[in-house]
Amino acid sequence: MNDIITTPQAVQIVAAALFAVGVYGVLARRNLMIILMSVELMLNGVNLSLVGFSREMAHLGPDATGALPADGGQVLVLMAMAVAAAEVAVGLSILIAIFRHIRTVDVDAPRATALRD
């Protein structure tokens, strides 16, 4: 049982599923807050996929540049997490700015431009 859930393919399938759920959320949900959460889900799916690939490469020795292939994925995941945090900070501020103007965070609400200025 333990072997099945940690095979490289299984990790990639779960990662792709997480990513797909995120994509579905962005496309199908109309609440900006949920859309933001779905974007985070997409990024976390990718993070899982990167860690999975990194794990697959654990047995590989240093490449031509002297770096271990397995390290790259781990580093990119750390960077992606930092970037996602920064991104969500800006996203939430924009969301608050929108809410102050149209009193809703529903993207199907009457167009914000109709209430312009």
Binding site: F19, L36, S49, A67, E87, V90, G91, I94, A97
Partner: protein
Amino acid sequence: MDPLANLPFAKGDVALLAPIAIPALFGLVALLLDLALDPRGSKTPLALVNALGCALAGFAAVVLWKGDTGTVGLGGAMVASGLSTGLALAILLGTTLMGFATAHHGTGAGPVRTTLAHGELYGLMLFGTSGMLALVVANDLVTFFVAIETLSISVYALTGADRRLARSAEGAMKYFVLGAFSSGFLLYGMSLLYGAGHTLRLDQLALSTLDPSLRPMATTGTVLLLVGLLFKVGAVPFHAWVPDAYEGAPGVVTGYMSVGVKVAAFGGALLVLEAVGRSGALSTAGIWGLWAVAAITIIAGNAGALTQRNPRRLLAYSGIAHTGYLLVGVVAMLRCFDEYHPAADSGDLLLASKDAVAGVGYYLLGYAAANAGAFAVLCHLERGGEEVERVSDLAGLARTSPGAAVAMTVSLVSLAGIPGTAGFLGKLWVFRAGVGTGDVGLVVLALLASAVSLYYYLYVVVVMFMHEPLPGSAAAVAAEPRRWASRLAMGAAATATVVLGVWPNITRLLGVDLLELMSDGAEALL
């Protein structure tokens, strides 16, 4: 024992990082300096800090990023070549000019209705510039991702900078949601390329021989990566955010992102596509897919621009059309990796592809000068925080402020690609490369579309020179005599546009030969 000997930094690494770090440091200076300034007064000190930071970064890039073999540093995470220097100069030109153009925003007689915070504006512009400069030297997908996100996050915040306007917040939200969505695809593409190529380094990826069973994964990764990049440059079908973000953002921000983001994203795209093209992850079908994107982008951009009556929306669609012309060059570059090309393995094809890289670089330089000029004129005509919202507001501009009308005309003529301007040379160079690689159909389409574009560019010129001023319009209000900074920006942009179009070699006098930079960069890349 020298305590510094064990640092992971070599002096060469600092040299490679300096042009990227300088704008970020000056961004902090701008943020702090703003606290000491009169909130209602002119922001020229900030514009001067901005210009100084950009000038120093440009100087550092010219001095430190030279060489046709490329400067490698930071353990290979960054590689600088002549192309990086050229594109860095285009980005810094845009940031400098837009900084000057907005220095007098919201000042002058009459009621002032603006909530634009200039300390943050200049700070974010310089932080974003730092990300753009990192993108054009990225040699590692980690660097690439962090750089593209640094510039994107700055621009998301800048788009919503005018908090008084609902449309500014709306434009920012559209840009942010679609941008973050596309970042997800970009990152997933990187992950798949990493899984297939076992490396994140672009030069290693280019050299790797992909396992045939992993090729589909690498191709999928490339396509996802391309989706993210095509979004940033505003190519159809990922262009929906462009008109709304350009219209919603303050004029200065629109100018900044139309120049900087496009130049940096194309620079990054050339680097990544070279690596995936060489590794064989981008198949012939992928190149034809990009061919189709280029064709649709050219058609949709020009068709959309025909009916626009808001100058910022007009320039947004014009920017989409220019993305299409630039993609002609990108397709031509990729042809040398196409193993089924009729002229594959011939020296001529490689030469034409190199020509395409240099052409795209030069095109971006001319586009930066012309677009920054057009937006500098729009910023110059802003009064008390009210932007120019209709082309008809420009009626009679030639009579009330002839300098602004001439600067706008030079910019528009260059964007249309009329001889004597930078836009013409750039188009000539890119389209010649396109013919050289056998993409004659695409070039003919681009030429026809350029002819169509004359209509909407020259319409603005006709309005400025031949129509009577409308009462109360931006053109009719007496020109603000103290706005020297935006005058400087307009003049500099128009001069750069003409000089780059008539006598590009004159930049040798300043110690930098732009044409040589571009060809050196192409030589280093391919």
